[in-house]
Symmetry: C2
Subunit: 188 residues, 2 copies
Amino acid sequence: MGPVPDKPTTTTQSDAYPLDAPSAYPAAEIARAWQRERPGIPTESIGIVTPLWRLAKLFADDRRKLLTELGVDPATLDLLSVLRRSGPPYEVNTRELARRTLVTAGAISQRVGRAEAAGLVLRRTERDGSRAVVVSLTKAGHDLVERTVDQVLTREAELVSSLKPDDRELLAGRLQVLLDDVRHRLEH
Amino acid sequence: MGPVPDKPTTTTQSDAYPLDAPSAYPAAEIARAWQRERPGIPTESIGIVTPLWRLAKLFADDRRKLLTELGVDPATLDLLSVLRRSGPPYEVNTRELARRTLVTAGAISQRVGRAEAAGLVLRRTERDGSRAVVVSLTKAGHDLVERTVDQVLTREAELVSSLKPDDRELLAGRLQVLLDDVRHRLEH
DNA sequence: CATGCTACGTTTAGGCCTAAACATTTAGAC
DNA sequence: GTCTAAATGTTTAGGCCTAAACGTAGCATG
């Protein structure tokens, strides 16, 4: 049966995993532990889903910390970035914002509300008497993006810099294919 | 310069992206949009980070919805799963829990508090007069894991079922390598 | 031009998390 | 032993998000 991972740790901390390796239990060990505890359970997904979640969390935590220093929060920068990237006149309606950021309409409404209160965006109706809302970037919002996005992307490029360009493209491609497939399955 | 993606969408929703493809702007287009708007900005990471975040969110949202139907929340099941996987006597101290779940000590404290109030776990000091806390699974907690984990893993196996075993292992391996490297970099 | 369905944005309630402040305990230095 | 510094678990404050309830606008049918 090989080594027994994920052993009970009643004693103190870390039998198998020293403190200086804060999260070193590969997904493979989680799958093995489930197989040991519940033989036959479908564990094929663990090797994909677990590292994927962990990577996402590491990137998100790191970005949040960097942005805190810069005086922004990730949700606001996400909103401003979509507007900035769309090019002049830096306007996008709220449906489109929800679609591009993968959050609910309610979340968009709150994000825009906060950003508007901070003077970073403006909100106006799409046409007279229309209910649709268009959000646009103010100068302050534009400036905020300009002085933060480079730092964020530079930092993240550093974090993935162990990947050689070919490997990076290969991984990016496979992730995109998987993403498209998962999205397709979720649409039923 | 090729096609111009991520065009302003002042008009209505979705010029280039119909509503029936709720999130179809590949990471590559985001990178191209940044290059168009801010030439020279380092965009290498986008192809990795963006699909990775989106996949993580799709999986997390789907799991949350499934678990809501089953009457649990993801955070609680995460806690119970670590305990269940550790094998008899289903006990893990709180430091170890924090390490394995990638959340802060405060979050663990709250998770355990909620689970304890729901009768799913017990909390006791590690030794007499000690400050260290050990969390253990109750029968109710054990039962809850038994009747939910199979469904969660089955569902997730379905979501990644487009990957052939070889592809799956390859991707899992590359993600784990990247995870280890990113973690290493974050330790400074 | 009613009627009812659908789409849309906002608001509210509740949940979970992080960061920081606390209160102890544990470990070292001398 | 004593004292200081580090480690540990909890609490609190504040932030962001989802789900659901609303109120209204758009629109097709008859």
